[in-house]
Amino acid sequence: MNNFSFGQYYPTNSLIHRLDPRTKLMFTFVYMIIVFLIKSYMGYLCTAALLASIILISKVPFRVVIRSIRAVLFLLFFTLIINLLFYNEGKTVFEWSFIHITVGGIDYSIKMLFRLTLLVMGASMLTFTTTSTELTDALEALLKPLTYIKVPVHDLAIIMSIALRFIPTLMEETQKIMNAQKARGANLDTGSFFERIKAMLPILIPLFVSAFRRADELADALDARCYNATDKRTKMKKLKFGLTDYLSFVVTIIFAVLVCLDAYMAGGAYIDGLIFSAIMGA
């Protein structure tokens, strides 16, 4: 369970935790789009500052948030290399046989690195501060308009909540089965690639068997209680926007406007340019 930190709820009961999950979901959605719009280093700096303040308010330790990147570290590294090698624009700085690295390439790959890092950290902030139940409630509430075009929103929500609910259970199950097979001398950590894949079979087969068994039992339990997703159901905890929610709307809008200014009116790029020329001059 070493890389389990990605997306595990981190209870601190902070202001961010108490926000309406719909607010957090909408913010994350807007945030994700916006991170892709940013054009300048200034823009990334501002976004990073916003994210940092969210992390500070949420009282989730930075160390834990940073750890969530570990899961995608390989991806980050991979995109960095690919962009460096294949994005060729501007002056060439380094050339060796088929490799040539350009100023544009360096610029683009660094920005992509920032983009992905901010994206992953922002998304994991959502799951650090929101329980899976809240999340599905929010999703259901936000997708509600789709019911008018006959999208089974409630069914989708319940499927999602079941899926989320069973992730930790299956993780635990995997751990148990791994232990059981290790106790029988299974060697999971060494050997060639194919040997290792083969060594996973004693874990995967029991895992699938138990996942299907659980699914069966759950279906029976739902049936036994006459569960019916299509009827109108009431909620124990009604979602309600509060003062902090309205405040975060304002912050989100200001943030979005700033980034759009940066993207379409080159505000940040202008400052970038100033800073660069200052560095070059020095």
Binding site: Y10, N179, A183, S210
Partner: protein, 318 residues
């Protein structure tokens, strides 16, 4: 001495809000030939403890010596885990969930194969193990494990462990989820295994009535520590403390307490139902001058023979 544990400590998810100290300071020596019962309620650290014994959990703090293999938090030299796991067999809760092969034979052979034994040796061990758990080798070896009944699956899973011929066998809740007759079968199987396969057996159980029927030494875990470590008959002198820890005491003791409170004179050393029966018959004989034979009643009441060595001795005394 087969296993020596010194100052063992363990913390789950250190430095996170989910941090839990599972083991606080565990010291325990397990001798060869022990039939050790471990009790303690959920979260007392007993499962964490036994997983240390065959290296499934790395030692954070403290020291374990299993036969000649030393387990510490020092990274080098690495302990020989394969050898350790061939010495200490572990049967987890619901072991049937770990079955994965197409046939019973292949599944039981998984462990010995991992030990790197020769094909002949594997053959012999698989046959022996399947027969030890009370299944007909020829009849079951080619059946798919998934089509067996619950109790049979569990026995195949246990066979998969004992085919590795461990000197110490650890069983975590071996009778969980079985019907009464399945339970009896597994219990008599465990007793049988002690004689024929693994001389040292450690059993975790929630069911105090069950564990007192065979263990000769009981270790009580409470809050990450060993609260009591006593011979089976001695442990229940601490009845009061056990109840305070939220543990159950054997039904026979409860009945004996009630009877004593009503003025019926019963002897000491009552732990199991068979003890209780003996004392009641003795008390009855004394009072009415009759001469009823305890062993005859015992035989007809307990149709499975679960008399363990302790009880055997008691009967010899009479």
């Amino acid at each position: 001495m087969s296993i020596v544990v010194k100052n063992l400590q363990f913390t789950y998810s250190a430095n996170s809000p989910y941090e839990t100290r599972a083991l606080k300071d565990v010291n325990l020596t397990i001798n060869e030939g022990d039939f050790l019962g471990i009790v303690g309620h959920t979260g007392s650290g007993k499962s964490t403890f036994i997983q240390h014994l065959n290296g499934l959990i790395k030692v954070q703090e403290g020291e374990i010596e299993v036969f000649d293999i030393k387990l510490t938090n020092v990274k080098k030299p690495k302990p020989d885990l394969r050898k350790l796991r061939s010495h200490v067999g572990m049967v987890f809760q619901y072991p049937e969930y770990q079955l994965f092969e197409e046939t019973v034979y292949k599944d039981v052979a998984f462990g010995p194969k991992n030990l790197g034994l020769s094909q002949e040796e594997i053959n012999d061990r698989v046959k022996e193990a399947i027969e030890l758990v009370g299944l007909d080798y020829e009849k079951y070896k080619d059946r798919a494990p998934f089509e067996l009944s619950g109790g049979q699956k569990r026995r195949v899973a246990i066979a998969g462990i004992i085919a590795m011929k461990p000197k110490v066998l650890i069983l975590d809740e071996p009778t969980a989820g079985l019907d009464p007759s399945g339970k009896e079968q597994i219990l008599s199987l465990i007793k049988n295994l002690k004689e024929k396969c693994s001389p040292t057996i450690i059993v975790i159980s929630h069911d105090i009535d069950e564990i007192t029927r065979f263990a000769n030494r009981l270790v009580v875990f409470n809050d990450g520590k060993v609260a009591f470590d006593e011979p089976m008959k001695e442990l229940f002198k601490h009845q009061q403390e056990l109840v305070e820890m939220g543990l159950d005491i054997p039904l026979a003791i409860k009945i004996a307490n009630e009877l004593k409170a009503k003025g019926i004179k019963l002897g000491e050393n009552i732990v199991t139902m068979s003890d209780l029966l003996r004392e009641i018959v003795i008390a009855y004989n004394k009072k009415n001058g009759t001469d009823i034979d305890v062993s005859k009643i015992r035989k007809s009441v307990f149709n499975f023979d679960f008399s363990n060595s302790n009880q055997e001795e008691v009967f010899k005394d009479e």
